[in-house]
C-alpha cells in the first residue's frame, strides 16, 4: 500500500514563492521524517529540523542524502525545550505544526 504526497509539487512551489532559502539558516519545527526539508535544504546554508517524535527524527536521519550531511541536522525536541541559540536563524518553518 502506497501513498504519494503532493507529486504535483504545489507545496514546494508555495514554499519557494513565499520565502527565499538561498544561503539562509533555517529552523524547521515539526520536521517529521524530513519530507519538507528536502524541498529547500539544497540551497540553504544550514537547516535544523526539530520534532518531538524520536522515530520520525530517526527516519529523517536515515533518509538524509549524503550531499546534505554537512548542512542538515535533526533533533528530537520541540521548539520550547530545544534551547536554541538566540537570533541564529533567518527562516523558521512551521508546517502543520502550530
Amino acid at each position: 500500500m502506497a501513498v504519494l504526497r503532493d507529486p504535483e509539487g504545489n507545496e514546494t512551489r508555495a514554499l519557494h514563492q513565499l520565502v527565499s532559502f538561498t544561503s539562509k539558516d533555517v529552523l524547521e519545527i515539526g520536521c517529521g521524517d524530513g519530507r519538507l526539508t528536502w524541498r529547500y535544504a539544497d540551497v540553504a546554508r544550514s537547516a535544523l529540523g526539530l520534532d518531538p517524535s524520536a522515530s520520525a527524527v530517526e527516519s529523517a536521519w536515515a533518509a538524509l542524502p549524503a550531499r546534505l550531511r554537512p548542512t542538515v541536522r535533526f533533533q528530537v525536541a520541540d521548539v520550547i525545550t530545544a534551547e536554541l541559540p538566540a537570533e541564529a536563524f533567518d527562516v523558521a518553518l512551521l508546517a502543520w505544526s502550530l
Binding site: R5, N10, R13, A14, L18, V79, E87, D90, A92, L93
Partner: protein, 133 residues
Amino acid sequence: MRALRSIHAALRPGGVLLDIQPARHDSWVEIQHGDRTLRVAELDESPGYDAERAAQTALQTVVDDKLFAPEADLFFTYRYHFDSFDAWVEQMNGWERIVMSPELRERVREALAATPGKLSVARNMHAARFRRL
C-alpha cells in the same frame, strides 16, 4: 504562544516565519478517472477546529504584540494519491483531525466501484509569511 515566542527569540531581526496549515472547509476525497476529477465526499475536519482556532489566536497575539508582522500569504492544494482503497483507509485512520466515519468509508467504496480510478485526497492549504520584528 510559547512556541512562537521561542521562534521569535531564535530568529534574527528581519527574519521570516513561514506557517503552513490546512485551511478549513475545503478538503475532498476524489477519484481521478481519466482526465476527470470526481469529488466523492468532503472531509469532516471538525476535530481540528479547536487546534486551528488556537493557532490563529496565537499568531494574532504575536502580531498584536509586534513580535511579527504579516507580509504575504497564499492558498494551494496538497494532494495525497493512494494506490488502493486500503491505503486510503489506513491514511485516514491515522489523521486525528479528520472524522473517518463508516458512512464516508462506504460512500468512497461505492464511488470507486461505480467509477474505477485513482483515489486521492485534496486538502486546501494556507501558507502565510510573517516578518520577525
